[in-house]
Amino acid sequence: MVAGMVRAATIEVGPRHRITSIKSALELAADGDTIRVVGGTYREGNLAIHKRVAILGVDHPVIDGQKQYEPLSIFAPNVTIQGFTIEASGQSAVTDIAAVKIYDTHHVTIADNVFDDNFFGVYIQGSSQCTIRNNRLTAYGKTEQLTGNGIHAWKSDSLHIGGNTVTGHRDGIYLEFVTHTEVRDNHSLNNRRYGLHFMFSHDNGYYYNTFTNNGAGVAVMYTKHVRMEHNVFSENWGDAAYGLLLKDITDSHVAHNVFSRNTTGILMEGSNRIQMQRNQFQGNGWALKIQASCMDNRLTQNNFVQNTFDVATNGSLVLNTFEHNYWDKYEGYDLDKDKEGDVPYRPVSLYSMVVEKYPMAMLLFRSFMVVLLDRTERVLPSLTPENLKDDRPLMNPVDL
């Protein structure tokens, strides 16, 4: 082992070097070696890596999958792939072909690469302690079926996914059965389906990511102990598009996020014990849709500004707490000057319930009739859930 470390050599690959293909360099290399690849295009079919090597690209050499092959398959631990342009992986409806696929291993690093026009970008299965950092992934799929996910992880543990930009894939980042993972500083834009999609992925954290203009926003399901903080969810527009869809998420934290200009900021379904704090909801159609199947959620110190509707729900049972939020539609007063309104605020308006049932009624929104109906309902709630109210709404926005 020690001898191996000492022997670690660097193998140069390039059109003007003795070794001109990555494949032959891989054959020559021993565990612990570094392969430096200089510019040019390498069309070598599938490169299967079974040794612990670092493959570094200088000036972004291109590894081309010629629309047939899986360019890189990693089977060994401690492999690093850095500084390449990997493009044109094969496409298949049967096997999930990726530009880089990591098979049942650990400590793999994929950093500073450009992925262009691939089916899946980075595909991690059954692996742990891998790092996917500062990559740029672009795909041009016309439909959800014709493109794979940008960063796809399955049955993995302790991954670090940071600083990547994903556009045009099916899901920007997709995690299934992935635990103890940190997803940080990524940008996921203009993807066909979801910007971020995870299921059964417990104990993960998502920080400082931006999810913009994805086909259906962000959808997360069947997971507990999730932390989502300092993310931006914006411009996810459409009937079934959500800034954030929380389905069967429990014991989680959603804090310091910005939800801006989405058709629905957050839709919560069957989600329990979620702490929502210090989020900014701005310019959404519906800031928050909270179904009656949710309970014991706590919403405190959030700002609701310029949303068409603040909160909508589908039943009269309310088992969630709204407290100390700032609502820009609040019209109450603060006589004792403790910066909390003295009368409760009811964020569910009658008309939001009408629109829920008859979507076409949106045509009459803000007409005098509708304003009248809403006012009457606010004074004497009969159709809107009586208990859904903020007893101590803030008079001024929370500093975030």
Partner: protein, 255 residues
């Protein structure tokens, strides 16, 4: 013609009602904008005022003015002037004065506080509504000789456009919600200039909510070039058609 227009406008601009109307709009708009912390919210608050007050003032004020200047019109008719010149001059004078009052009263604060697309559309819609309701007033006043009845009709027309029409649409919407009524509803809303203005502004400030299911229908109609052209055409029709009817009637009227 120019002389009559000039006279009518000068007469109107000196009238206390128009001055008070302008001042009230100015004070209201400035206070709304200085109370609300962001421009779009100010526009929303002003929206209700514009959709409610502007048609009311335009239609009532014009009807009253027409009845009060019946003698002046008789004098004009006795002169060697063509009747449509007289009638058109009165329309232009009235419409000019009322929309000028609105443009000053709301336009200036909007330029100061909310020079956004929604603000500008608000001002344009307000001017269009002023024109339309002056034209409707002309028709009401020329049809009915009795002043009290005429003003009554004007109030009824305003009530219909501002309130009853929406109630009717809401009723139809609930009744026929099981049917594919989307296009019909859009067509129906074109029958009310107040609704058209409201939807145009809605498309600016509630765009996120409108991007949902119905939004697609909204946007595919009102958001496209053809839709915008059609809405503008409909608004022009709304001011031209009552005017044309009133003109036809005025030409044959035995004063």
């Amino acid at each position: 013609m120019n002389k009559i227009i000039k006279y009518v406008i000068a007469d109107l601009l000196r009238s206390r009602t128009i001055l008070v109307y302008t001042a009230v709009l100015l004070v209201l708009s400035f206070s709304v904008f200085s109370m609300e912390d962001n421009a779009d919210k100010g526009v929303v608050s002003l929206l209700n005022i514009v959709l409610f007050v502007v048609p009311l003032v335009s239609i009532i004020f014009s009807t009253v003015y027409l009845y009060n200047s019946a003698e002046f019109m008789e004098l004009l008719v006795s002169q060697p002037l063509r009747r449509n010149v007289i009638w058109m001059s009165i329309f232009i004078g009235l419409a000019g004065a009322v929309s000028l009052a609105f443009a000053v009263g709301v336009g200036i604060p909007v330029i100061f506080y909310a020079a956004t697309a929604s603000g500008l559309i608000l001002v344009l819609c307000g001017c269009a509504l002023s024109l339309i309701f002056v034209s409707v007033a002309l028709w009401a006043a020329v049809r009915i000789r009795d002043k009290a009845k005429g003003i009554g009709l004007a109030i009824l027309l305003w009530l219909y456009f501002a309130l009853l029409f929406d109630a009717l649409v809401l009723f139809l919407l609930f009744q026929f919600s099981d049917y594919p009524i989307e296009n019909g509803m859009v067509a129906l809303s074109l029958l009310n200039p107040i609704d058209i203005s409201r939807i145009l502004i809605l498309l600016q400030i509630d765009i996120s909510a409108l991007m949902g299911y119905t939004g697609a229908i909204f946007r595919s109609f009102f958001g496209t070039g053809g839709g915008v052209a059609l809405t503008i055409a409909v608004l022009i029709l709304w001011s031209a058609v009552p005017l044309w009817f009133s003109l036809r009637f005025f030409k044959r009227k035995d004063l």
